[in-house]
Subunit: 346 residues, 2 copies
C-alpha cells in the first residue's frame, strides 16, 4: 500500500465544486497522518468549454494519467449542447482510462426515506460495463434535419469486454456473504449481444460454483427493483442498462443524494475515477442545499480501491451513524461535510 | 362505426389462454346486442413451434390481416430459446402490421397496492414507438462463441418513424386536460438518434402551442417514476426505453396485473393488436391465479380504438368499481372475469 496519494480533482460544474470540497475535507480527516495527500485540480467542464472550446485536451489527459485516482464532482450545464461535455469529457475519461467496471453500490442506510413502503433491507451492487455497448459513439446521421433523416446508434459488444466485466462481477459476488449474481440484459430482443452476454456469463460461472446465478430481462428487473429489491446481491449488466438501473436503484434507496460510483480500471494500468451518480444540478448550485454524501461515499470507494479498507469502512460507518442520528433539521452542504469529517476523525 | 367486429384471437402461452378467455367474456358482455362479434382463434406460440417449428407462417399473417383487431394473451416459454418467439412472432406482428404507436396507460386504480408510500394520483400514458429503434433486428455477431466475438445491435431511427409517433403523442396530450408531453431519450449519449428525436419533437411541438413540453433523460425519468409519478401526463419515447419504462410504470402503480397495452396502427391500414404488458408466467399457468384485469383493460383499449368509446369506458369504470369493492379475499382468474362481466352488463 502506497503511503502517498496523488489525487486528481475535477470539480466540474454546478454543485460539483461544493460537493467535491466536502469529499476532500472528509478524505483529509480520515487519512492517517503519515499518508501524504497531493491533490491537483483540473479546470474542466462547462466554464472551460465556454472560455476555450476545449473539453479534454490531450495534455490534460496525459497529466491526469500521472495520478493514483481521480475524484470528479459533476459535469454538465444547460448552456452547453447536450452531449458535448458528456462525450467529450466524462465518457472520454471513462474510455481513455479503460474504466470497464462501473461500480455502483445501493444500500438502504438507516433513517433514509425510501419511497417504497415497508420494504426490508436493500444492499446490492451494480457492476455496470463501462467501455462498450451503446456508449461507444458508433452510429451516425444521414440527411440530418431533413424528413428523410436516418439516425443510427450501434451497440458494440466484444467477448473481450464482456468477459472481463463478468469475471469481475463473479469475483465480487464470491466475496460477499450471499454470493448471488444476476445478469440483466434483454436477450429476447437484442439477440446478438444478449446471447453473447448470456453465454459468457454461463461459461465464466462454471469457475464459480459457489455463486448462485440468475438472469432477468431489463424490463422485468425494473419491476423487482421496486417490488423486491432485497432479492439482489450483485448485478452485472451492459453500459446503458446499468445507467438506467443505477438511477432507479438510487431512487428506491436513499435517493440520488447518497449514490456513489467508481469508474474502475481493475488492472491498475490507468487511474480509476470516483464520482457521485447525480448530476451538476445547476438549479441548486451555490445555495448550500447539495447533499455531499454521495461524493463522500465515492471517496470511500476510492480509498478501498487504493487499499485503504479501514478508512473506507470508517467513512461508510460515519455516514450510517450520521443518518441514524439525523433529527430532520435541514443541514447545509458544509454542515454535512463537517459532521462527517468530525465522525471519521473521531 | 361498424356494427360487427371481426376479432382475431391469439391466446398464446402460459396464462395467455386463461386471461384471454376472461377478456372475451367481458367483451361479449359489454357489446350491444346488435353488434356481431366474430372471433377466430390462432394457435401460435410455444406449442405450435415445438410441434411444427413455425412461429408465424405467411398464410396466418395474411389471415390475421383480414380482421378489425387482434387480441393477444402472452407469448413465450422457457422451453423455447430466448428470442425465437419474441422476434419470430410477437415483434413480427408489430412490424408487419406497422404498429408504430405502442400505447401503455398507467393509472393508479382505487384500492390497489402501489409500493410507493403515500403518493398521490398517478394517471399517465406512455406512447412507445413500436417499429424502430433497437428492435429492428439489425446487428449481428462475428466469430460467434469465440474469445474474439464481436456482437452489435443497431438502433435504427428515421425521421419518418419518429415524426409520426411524436405527432400521435402530441394529439393525445392535446386531448387530455393537463396537456403535457414529456420526451424521454438519452440524447447526451445517444447523440445521433437523441438529437433527431429532440429536433423533431421541438418542430412538431410548434403546431401544438397549448401543449406544455419537457425533456428527460431516461435515467432521470426512472427516478421521477418513483419519486414523483404524478408529474407525468403523456410520455413519448423510443421502443426500448418505452419497454423499460412501462414495466416500471406498472410496478409503481397497481402492478403488472393491471397494465394494458395497444399496438396501434393509427392509419387503419392494418389491424391493431391489444395485449396485457405481462408475460406468459408459466409458473402460475393453470393455477387460476392469473389476474385477467390487464387483458380486460386491453379489451377496453381495443373497443376505444374501434370507436366503441362508451363500452370502453364501461369496462374501465367496472374495473375501478370492482377494485374499490375488493375485500382482500383472493379471487381466481375466472371469478375476476365473472365479476367484471357482471358489472359491465349491469
Ligand atoms: C452524464 C451521463 C453521460 C452519464 C452516463 O450516462 O453514464 C450519467 O448518467 C451516469 O450515469 O454517470
Ligand atoms: C416480450 C418482449 C419482446 C416485449 C418487448 O420487449 O416489447 C415485452 O417485453 C413487451 O413489453 O411487450
Amino acid at each position: 500500500m502506497s503511503r502517498s496519494i496523488r489525487l486528481a480533482v475535477i470539480p466540474g460544474d454546478g454543485i460539483g465544486q461544493e460537493v467535491v470540497a466536502q469529499g476532500l475535507k472528509v478524505l483529509t480527516a480520515v487519512l492517517p497522518q503519515d499518508v501524504k495527500l497531493e491533490t491537483k485540480e483540473y479546470d474542466l467542464g462547462a466554464r472551460r468549454w465556454h472560455a476555450t472550446g476545449e473539453t479534454l485536451p490531450d495534455a490534460e489527459l496525459e497529466s491526469l494519467k500521472q495520478h493514483d485516482a481521480i475524484l470528479l464532482g459533476a459535469i454538465g450545464d444547460p448552456s452547453v449542447p447536450s452531449g458535448v461535455l458528456e462525450r467529450g469529457l466524462l465518457l472520454k475519461l471513462r474510455f481513455a482510462f479503460d474504466h470497464f467496471v462501473n461500480l455502483r453500490p445501493s444500500k438502504l442506510f438507516p433513517n433514509t426515506t425510501t419511497p417504497l413502503a415497508g420494504r426490508p433491507d436493500i444492499d446490492f451492487v451494480v457492476v455496470r460495463e463501462g467501455t462498450e455497448g451503446p456508449y461507444t459513439g458508433n452510429g451516425g446521421s444521414l440527411r440530418t434535419g431533413t424528413p428523410a433523416e436516418v439516425a443510427t446508434e450501434v451497440s458494440v459488444n466484444t467477448a473481450y469486454g464482456v468477459e472481463r466485466v463478468v469475471r469481475d462481477a463473479f469475483e465480487r459476488a464470491n466475496a460477499r456473504p450471499r454470493k448471488k449474481l444476476t445478469l440483466v440484459h434483454k436477450n429476447n430482443v437484442l439477440v446478438y449481444a444478449g446471447h453473447m452476454w448470456k453465454n459468457i456469463f454461463d461459461k465464466v460461472g462454471q469457475e464459480y460454483p459457489e455463486v448462485t446465478t440468475d438472469y432477468l430481462h431489463v424490463d422485468a428487473a425494473t419491476i423487482f427493483f421496486v417490488t423486491q429489491p432485497e432479492r439482489f446481491d450483485v448485478i452485472v449488466t451492459d453500459n446503458l442498462f446499468g445507467d438506467i438501473l443505477t438511477d432507479l436503484a438510487a431512487a428506491v434507496t436513499g435517493g440520488i443524494g447518497l449514490a456513489a460510483s467508481g469508474n474502475i480500471n481493475p488492472t491498475g494500468e490507468f487511474p480509476s475515477m470516483f464520482e457521485p451518480v447525480h448530476g451538476s444540478a445547476p438549479d441548486i448550485a451555490g445555495t448550500g442545499k447539495a447533499d455531499p454524501t454521495a461524493t463522500i461515499l465515492s471517496v470511500a470507494l476510492l480509498l478501498r480501491h487504493l487499499g485503504y479498507e479501514a478508512e473506507a469502512a470508517r467513512i461508510e460507518t460515519a455516514v450510517a451513524t450520521d443518518l441514524e442520528a439525523r433529527d430532520g433539521t435541514a443541514r447545509s452542504t458544509d454542515e454535512i461535510g463537517d459532521a462527517l469529517a468530525a465522525r471519521v476523525a473521531g
